[in-house]
């Protein structure tokens, strides 16, 4: 990068982590292939594991985006789930439009929920979503614009720390209530389900699943490279400086509002991409995604993995969600204790998260 690339004390550990990450990526990439092996084969990977891993990859992208905002720029957003959900809704709208006349009521344009709620025509904000490129643009644009407006208002007024967190939480809460309304034209509580196809490919085939899996994996790798490029540039150092002493950075002549806004908007857009990839894989998007608890959970992934390190964010997303999937089946009555206890223990004893633990061992 530059002549001053910092040889940190724990750099060997960091190198080890990078290598580990690469191996993990390759292993992940192999999953859909191993899925094609016969069920009896010892290396066979089940459909369930592939599909759930695809979901976790999307969570990992969300965690990365949150880490960029929180871990590096110090913006603790408790509303990142909202950007994720908005990206998901944009994708969902595209998928709904693609159903076309294959809906239950055979209406050429209107999605089923509009038909039985008595809509006569498509609301204006649904126009254009039948076009893939337009929908993908909206996936990043809508979260980006929301982040721009909210961030501009907040950063300009120098709302930081806890106050900012509460405002972002109120934002996602307000959006949740709004999207629950059936009159909004987004299907209310039921949201969107029963998607048929994407890019001409039926969604319930192995090919489509593998395609989405690889798309998510590529998006994760790209996000990682992007974030890593950002955090290692001088801009990344400005963000770190803002996190640790925003006032001081201002006196150095940096307009911190612009810097934070840039990071926040970028982060929101990444979250939107994660949401867009998530929706076709889980097959549903509904206002529950806006619930404040979801956003807090995402923050917790980052905290558990280790904020301020990109690998940590990814690690956190995979480990917490893996634990949750396992526990909701293995100990349905007790999983909240385990998960809640984990958050308590991590914040108390592992302020640098799992990654801190690994690094500590490596150094």
């Amino acid at each position: 990068m530059s002549a001053t690339a910092t040889p940190l004390p724990a750099s060997r550990a960091r190198l080890g982590l990078r290598a580990g990450l690469l191996v993990a990526l390759l292993l992940l990439a192999a999953m859909p292939v191993l899925n094609q092996l016969p069920v009896t084969h010892p290396l066979h990977v089940s459909d369930f594991l592939v599909s759930i891993t695809g979901k976790w990859i999307c969570y990992a992208i969300l965690a990365l985006s949150l880490d960029l905002a929180w871990g590096y720029a110090g913006i603790l957003s408790l509303g990142h789930g909202a950007f994720f959900a908005l990206g998901g809704y944009a994708m969902g709208m595209h998928l709904m439009r693609l159903i076309g006349p294959r809906g239950v009521y055979g209406h050429p344009v209107l999605p089923d929920f509009m038909v039985f709620l008595g809509y006569r025509e498509l609301p204006w904000y649904w126009l254009g979503f039948d076009n893939f490129a337009f929908a993908m643009l909206m996936v990043v644009l809508v979260p980006g614009v929301l982040a721009l407006v909210l961030g501009w208002l907040a950063f300009r007024s120098r709302i930081t720390g806890v106050y900012l967190s509460i405002i972002t939480q109120a934002m996602t809460y307000a959006l949740m209530l709004a999207f629950f309304r059936n009159d909004m034209g987004f299907g209310g509580n039921n949201g969107f389900t029963d998607f048929k196809e994407l890019l001409g490919q039926p969604l319930n085939t192995d090919t489509a699943r593998a395609g989405l899996f690889y798309a998510s994996l590529i998006a994760l790798a790209a996000s990682f490279l992007l974030c890593s490029r950002i955090t290692r540039s001088k801009y990344g150092r400005v963000l770190t400086a803002i996190r640790d002493g925003e006032n001081r950075v201002r006196f150095l002549g940096y307009n911190t509002t612009h810097h934070k806004l840039f990071a926040f908007v970028l982060s929101a857009m990444l979250a939107g991409v994660a949401g867009a990839l998530y929706v076709p894989q889980v097959g549903i998007i509904n206002p529950g995604e806006f619930s404040p608890a979801n956003s807090i959970e995402a923050v917790i992934w980052v905290a558990v993995g280790g904020r301020g390190t990109l690998v940590g964010a990814i690690l956190g997303a995979f480990s917490v969600n893996g634990l949750k999937t396992w526990l909701t089946s293995a100990a349905p009555d007790l999983w909240l204790f385990v998960l809640g206890g984990l958050f308590v223990l991590v914040t108390l004893f592992l302020p640098k998260g799992l990654i801190g633990l690994l690094k500590g061992r490596g150094a």
């Binding site: 603790l76 208002l153 907040a154 300009r156 007024s157 120098r158 709302i159 720390g161 806890v162 106050y163 967190s165 509460i166 405002i167 939480q169 109120a170 934002m171 809460y173 307000a174 209530l177 709004a178 629950f180 309304r181 404040p292 608890a293 807090i296 923050v299 917790i300 905290a303 009555d333 007790l334 909240l336 204790f337 998960l339 809640g340 206890g341 984990l342 958050f343 308590v344 914040t347 108390l348 302020p351």
Partner: protein, 522 residues
């Protein structure tokens, strides 16, 4: 009381011709028939003016009228049963409770109303006037005329007059009708308005008079409606205030973000439930279980708060965001514990009689008793909180520690103890809020979740560290919400309030009652 009633009944009975007494006997079997027959029988009994009908009809209304195997009817009173006709004690074996439906209930109300219009008990007469008004019929005119002439209590006279006017509207005499319209138009009750509107179709000839009367009532009702909305806003505000007050202490004064705050509220509500169950064994104590719950809930929540502060939060001072995440985890655990111990179902917390029903304020403004109590309660809790902070040694130490910890410590204040007490105090207030919320919301493990975001918003909106700000913030948000609700709907009103609060905070980041100066910037 009992004696006068008895004497009065005997007097009434003696005055009746024998024919009516036979009619009483003849009407009885209908009560055991189907709902149709029941309603008819009730109507007939109500028209008889036979005092023996009163206990029978009351028993039917309360589900205490039983049918024996031989089709004779008996009334159950506690454990004793008496025969309707003979008044003799009977065996209750092989009996079947006579069930009624709404249609019979409507008939019963009318019949009992007619029978009780001349009761010696003013409360009964008032209820009767109300009932007769609701089951209006032209036949009631002479009855009401007579009752009105005897009546001396002004409030009952007013109700009887309206009932009379409403009944006159059904009479065939046009002059009487106009009299009725005029009297109804002079009242300010929505029921009178409803009666007038209903009469429009049947009386095209006096339509202008009816319309004028309705318009007159409408003018008076508009004021009342505004007052009602205002009260509803205050009431919502008082709920927000209660929920936010504890947070104003833990977050506002100490700067601790406690996401488990809602769970402390929930623990308060469950404490109320436990106290109530404990009081069930002692009947005279049961109505007082709610006031008893207040200190209990405070102690339970405060103990949990102190435990959490000493065990967990104090290790994270100066790291508010970590505190936020940790307390979220604690909240999850508290919620699941309660769910496993008490079950996921709602728990029933009874309202004491003095918190039920509606109270009429001057100008006929109806306010529900429970909400009025909660409003008053929230202000008392606020006053006590202010007093505790301003006027007690503990409050002094608390302010000292939060402002200049090191200096306070050097003056011999045990800051750790003060921290624990302050947090316990804030949590205790949350517990008290739970007692109040048990009266209007579900007592379920999820109780607290619904209030946490609103509470934070109220505290930030009002200005962190300012109890006056919390007060104004809570009532302000409550009022705006209720004013918006009629035209925006409940959901959008809430969304608008959230957005408005967010924008407001961005304009004035320190809230309504900002703490100014260099201290605030530290």
């Amino acid at each position: 009381m009992k004696h006068t009633l008895l004497a009065f009944l005997l007097l009434l009975a003696a005055a009746l011709p024998a024919r009516a007494q036979d009619a009483f006997v003849a009407a009885l079997p209908g009560l055991a028939g189907n709902f149709n027959a029941q309603a008819e029988a009730v109507d007939r009994l109500g028209a008889l003016a036979d005092p023996r009908a009163i206990p029978v009809l009351r028993a039917l209304a309360d589900g205490r009228l039983l049918k024996l195997a031989d089709n004779s009817l008996v009334i159950r009173d506690g454990t004793a049963t008496t025969d309707v006709l003979t008044g003799a004690a009977t065996e209750a074996a092989g009996t079947e409770v006579l069930r009624i439906n709404n249609r019979v209930r409507v008939a019963l109300r009318g019949a009992l109303g007619r029978l009780q219009l001349v009761s010696p008990d003013p409360a009964e007469r008032l209820a009767a006037a109300e009932a007769v008004f609701r089951s209006r019929s032209a036949d009631n005119v002479p009855l009401l005329d007579a009752a009105l002439a005897r009546e001396t209590v002004p409030r009952i006279r007013d109700r009887m007059a309206i009932a009379l006017a409403a009944s006159r509207l059904l009479a065939s005499d046009p002059a009487a009708k106009l009299l009725g319209v005029e009297a109804l138009g002079a009242s300010s009750s929505p029921e009178a308005r409803s009666v007038l509107l209903e009469a429009r179709a049947a009386n095209p000839d006096i339509l202008p008079q009816i319309e004028a009367a309705v318009a007159a009532i409408d003018r008076r009702l508009a004021v009342r409606r505004a007052a009602e909305t205002f009260f509803q806003g205050l009431s919502l505000g008082s709920v927000l205030l209660l929920a936010a007050l504890g947070l104003a202490v833990t977050f506002g004064v100490m700067g601790v973000i406690n996401m488990a705050h809602g769970e402390f509220v929930m623990l308060g509500a469950y404490t109320t439930f436990i106290v109530q169950e404990a009081c069930r064994g002692i009947p005279w104590l049961l109505p007082w279980s709610l006031p008893l719950s207040v200190p209990a809930a405070f102690l339970v929540a405060a103990a949990c708060g102190a435990l959490m502060e000493r065990g967990l939060i104090r290790h994270l001072y100066g790291r508010p965001l970590e505190t936020l995440l940790m307390t979220f985890g604690v909240g999850m655990m508290i919620q699941q514990t309660v769910r496993l111990v008490f079950g996921a179902q709602n728990r029933e917390v009874l309202s004491p009689p003095w918190m039920q029903g509606t109270l009429m304020l001057p100008f006929d403004i109806p306010v529900t008793q429970n909400r009025l109590w909660i409003l008053a309660f929230s202000l008392v809790v606020l006053a006590l909180t202010v007093a505790a902070i301003r006027f007690t040694r503990f409050g002094l130490e608390m302010r000292a520690v939060t402002q200049k910890r090191a200096i306070a410590a050097s003056m011999g204040i045990r800051t750790g103890r003060v921290d624990a007490l302050t947090f316990a105090f804030g949590s205790g207030i949350a517990g008290i809020a739970g007692v109040a919320l048990s009266q209007i919301d579900n007592v379920s493990p999820n109780l607290g979740t619904g209030y946490i975001i609103d509470s934070f918003l109220v505290v930030v909106f009002g200005g962190v560290g300012s109890l006056a700000g919390t007060l104004v913030g809570a009532f302000g948000l409550g009022l705006v919400n209720k004013i918006l609700e009629p035209w925006a709907g409940a959901v959008l009103a809430k969304v608008f309030v959230l957005i408005a609060a967010m924008i407001f905070i961005q304009r004035r980041p320190r809230g309504l009652f900002a703490q100014k100066g260099r201290a605030a910037e530290a």
